[in-house]
């Protein structure tokens, strides 16, 4: 059989197969639960532009392989350059690239511009668990410093900062967020890099010890969503999980009332009655500690 035909057909199959797979694939993004529909739109735009180019190139190559594969007496054309064609292709490519870049930077502009009315919360990462802090009644997070971190003060809050006294601290429990209210998430890490990632929100950001990083989003769907760590942080990385509960304002307020403040917790700790603060090592950490791979 004609080799050119076979190879050409395989190439067609690769191009068509990829497109068919794309549309039939059961694996696709999770239903959106935040305002970042723009991000999904950007992915769709990029898919269309690049997909057309991909299919066009592969099919054209398939055609060439089929049409120009060697047979007795064939001789290739001799054409070192074709300036006109090269400039056309360069121009078209530039148009495609601008088509992706322009909307891309517009959305990026939004992504990094936090709305005025956003409320602030803090997520703290450590090997291998999440904890959360709310600003409390005064709406301001108290200052913190790694040097203050201790068994009694796991967030490292500054004990003399009045803003921190009413901060609400959540350890070993879920993060709760009110529906439809923009939130600025401040990210901090005690030890190594981590990354706060909830696939349904689309947004994510690394947490870096020694720095405070941030991103913002608005939860748009009630539900419980799993938090994954998306930056390698050691043996327990894959097991560093948590949950975000998005709920109606009223349910959220009710929940918030019941949570302890920094002042209460440090009072308890002083009186020796608190047991909330014992950091729970995740399963994986415990596992590998047993095996001795963690010193």
């Amino acid at each position: 059989m004609n080799k050119g035909l076979v190879v050409g057909l395989v190439l067609v199959l690769v191009a068509v197969g990829s497109v068919v797979f794309h549309f039939l694939s059961p694996w696709w993004w999770t239903p959106l639960a935040s305002n970042w529909g723009y991000i999904d739109d950007m992915i769709i735009i990029t898919f269309w532009i690049t997909g057309v180019v991909f299919v066009a190139i592969i099919l054209f190559m398939a055609y060439c392989v089929f049409r120009y594969s060697h047979k007795e007496g064939r001789r290739a054309a001799y054409e070192p350059e074709n300036k006109k064609m090269e400039w056309w292709l360069t121009g078209l490519t530039t148009v495609g690239v601008v088509g992706m870049l322009a909307p891309g930077v517009l959305v990026w502009g939004q992504f990094i511009t936090v709305p005025e009315e956003a409320s602030v919360i803090e997520v703290v990462g450590q090997q291998w668990q999440w904890s959360f802090r709310y600003p409390g009644k005064d709406g301001v997070l108290g200052t913190s410093d790694p040097q203050n971190i201790s068994f009694e003060n796991p967030f490292g809050l500054n004990p003399n900062d009045p803003n921190g006294q009413d901060d609400i601290l959540i350890e070993g429990d879920d993060l709760h967020l009110p529906l439809d209210r923009p939130v600025k998430v401040l990210l901090r890490s005690k030890d190594v890099l981590h990354d706060f990632y909830v696939p349904q929100f689309r947004a994510k950001m690394d947490m870096v010890p020694g720095m405070v990083t941030y991103f913002w989003f608005t939860p748009t769907r009630v539900g419980t969503f799993e938090i994954l760590c998306a930056e390698l942080c050691g043996v327990g990385h894959y097991a560093m999980r948590g949950y975000v509960v998005v709920e109606e304002e009223s349910a959220y307020q009710e929940w918030l009332q019941e949570q302890p403040t920094f002042a209460q917790l440090s009072g308890e700790a002083r009186n020796g009655t608190g047991d909330v603060l014992n950091p729970v090592l995740s399963e994986a950490a415990a596992d590998s500690a047993e095996r001795g791979s963690v010193q």
Binding site: M61, Y78, P80, G104, D191
Partner: protein, 602 residues
């Protein structure tokens, strides 16, 4: 400066006669082991890179077994898994691909293709290999130290890389950093050689714009490497100091497992900038030689001049230059100042333009060609498919907003495997099928080759194309297992099993290839000189396969570019670069010369 005026008697002999003879190796040791012939050094590089590459291949099987069948392999624990990915990734990128493209193909092809007798500093060139070997041995040693090799990921991000929550934080990371530093030292010796050889040792008539694109690709990649590796070197040294002397270059105040550590004031992002200032050009260090080689494979086997040669050269140069301006696209979600996103998004998407031009020109070279579907050509076509695919997903990740959900997921793993794993490896295979006869005088077995090609190409595509969709779903990379995760359907695990099975089959095909390499060296069909009827100089040496010194008594003279295929009016469909203008038609040519071995006019 001492002045030395030779008397008549002391006068040095004319160069053409003596210089070759003078340094011909005299013993078995200096011929095969401590050899200064770039061709032998190339083979040494290639064999070492291949051997350590096999380790990386076996590690990939172990990782795939774990991902495909998470509960079945109790001997792999989470720490092991991290060690596997780290060693696999680092070996593949640095010790296999970089070493093979530059140390292997660079050494073999540069002197031959530019008509030089050897690299300009043969002794340093030899040292380069031995230092590389030492780097590999140090790397291998880390498998055997207490705690095992580092599991910090090939990116080696601190603080995690040197803290106890990561496997190998005690010895593994130290050996890794030392090995990298050694690699860079060794590479620098070789790299300076390649650059100076291209600039200074080209034969008469070999202008820069007559050089084959293979040489252009390797030449520019080497320049990138010489400029990029120092950033990694500095980063490695600083991290070593942090690890051993407890300096705080990359280490802020840290509370590890409830304990205050002795660090303060450093910045982890500084390392990330150093790493990616090296890491992004590294992608092109691997890609540009591939670009060059594939251009020559396509042109030769389609019997057609490369389309838009000058554009191709400028594209290589432009990509090389731009590749130093895009590094932070790996850091959109690292926590760096997000305003950088605008700059790096723009530079990253701009680089797509010269890259796309290269792709168009490859395809346009096939167009109206006389395509011989030989093994090198098949691999070249497969390269285009996978490279275009991987390049396109790069446009996703280059756009910061799209990168936000996809970074650190399986989408990234699929992307970089397609573009800098599969694509360059396919070129390497094509190149080996192409140049094997030059090295051994024999052809690789065609049937085994076909099997190897189809399984590798289609297999690799089946592994990595669907993997992107796991990334869309939100499966993170570097995960030992997903466990029970709400949003991951059961079918994702089925896909993982499928990928693992295909990966094992593809792995098996590589063993067939290895067998072919060894078997054909003894039993392969004798190729005859210039079996592909190529124009470039490496096929026009007086001895076949070429010997030490390459050119016998006189170096070739070059009359034309490397792409005179199917020139109208010429009666052969190729004109070797050293074919004199007055010999282009049969009437003028020496009748007694074997086909393809046309000598320049005396």
């Amino acid at each position: 400066m001492a002045f030395f005026v030779p008397t008549e008697a002391e006068h040095v002999a004319p160069a053409e006669v003596a210089d070759v003879e003078l340094y011909h190796p005299k013993s078995w040791w200096t011929r095969y082991i401590f050899c200064q012939d770039a061709k032998v050094i190339a083979i040494q590089y290639a064999i070492t890179a291949g051997a350590i590459g096999l380790v990386a291949l076996v590690l990939s099987w172990l990782m795939r077994l774990q991902l495909g069948f998470p509960d079945s392999f109790s001997f792999i624990d989470p720490g092991d898994y991290l060690q596997f990915i780290t060693m696999h990734g680092m070996i593949m990128v640095i010790y296999l691909l970089t070493a093979l493209f530059l140390g292997g193909f660079g050494n073999y092809l540069i002197p031959l293709m530019v008509g030089a007798r050897d690299m300009v500093f043969p002794y340093v060139n030899m040292l380069s290999y031995w230092v590389y070997l030492l780097a590999v041995l140090v790397l291998v040693a880390s498998f055997f130290v207490p705690g095992g090799p580092t599991g910090a990921g090939w990116t080696l991000y601190p603080p995690q890389a040197i803290l106890s929550g990561t496997p190998g934080a005690e010895w593994g990371i130290i050996l890794m950093l030392v090995s990298l530093a050694l690699f860079i030292v060794g590479f620098t010796m070789g790299g300076l050689n390649y650059v100076v050889t291209v600039l200074q040792a080209r034969t008469r008539g070999m202008t820069l714009l007559r050089m084959p694109l293979t040489v252009w690709g390797i030449f520019v990649a080497t320049i990138l490497a010489l400029l990029a590796f120092p950033a990694l070197f500095v980063g490695a040294v600083m991290m070593l100091l942090d690890r051993i002397l407890e300096t705080s270059f990359f280490m802020p105040a840290i509370v590890e497992m409830g304990e205050q550590l002795n660090y303060a004031g450093g910045n982890p992002l500084l390392f990330q900038h150093l790493f990616w200032f090296f890491g992004h050009p590294e992608v092109y260090i691997v890609a540009l030689p591939g670009f060059g080689i594939v251009s020559d494979l396509i042109s030769t086997h389609a019997r057609r001049n490369i389309f838009g040669y000058r554009m191709m050269v400028w594209a290589i140069v432009a990509i090389g230059a731009l590749s130093f301006l895009v590094w932070a696209h790996h850091m959109y979600v690292s926590g760096m100042n997000p305003w950088f996103g605008f700059f790096f998004a723009t530079t990253t998407l701009v680089i797509a333009v010269p890259t796309a031009i290269k792709v168009y020109n490859w395809v346009l070279t096939l167009w109206r060609g006389d395509i011989h579907l030989t093994l090198p050509m098949l691999f070249a076509i497969a390269f285009i498919v996978t490279f275009v695919n991987g390049g396109i997903t790069g446009l996703f990740l280059g756009n910061p907003v799209v990168d936000v959900p996809l970074s650190d997921t399986m989408f990234v793993v699929a992307h970089f495997h397609m573009v800098m794993g599969v694509a360059p490896i396919l070129v390497i295979f094509g190149a080996i099928y192409h140049w094997y006869p030059l090295v051994t005088g024999r052809m690789l077995n065609e049937t085994l080759g076909k099997f190897h090609f189809w399984v590798t190409f289609l297999g690799a595509y089946l592994i990595y194309f669907p993997m992107h969709y796991l990334g869309f779903l939100g499966v993170p990379r570097r995960y030992f297992e997903m466990g029970e995760t709400d949003f991951i359907p059961q079918s994702a695990q089925t896909l993982n099993e499928f990928i693992t099975v295909v990966a094992l089959i593809v792995g098996f095909a590589q063993l067939v290839f290895l067998f072919n390499l060894v078997w054909s060296a003894y039993k392969g069909r004798v190729s005859g000189r210039n079996p592909w009827r190529a124009t470039t100089l490496e096929w026009q040496t007086p001895d076949f396969p070429p010997r030490h010194g390459n050119w016998g008594p006189t170096q070739p003279v070059v009359y034309r570019w490397a792409y005179d295929y199917s020139v109208p009016g010429a009666d052969q469909d190729f004109l070797p670069q050293n074919l004199a203008p007055d010999q282009v038609t049969a009437d003028n040519r020496h009748k007694d010369l074997p086909d393809g071995a046309v000598q320049p006019a005396e």
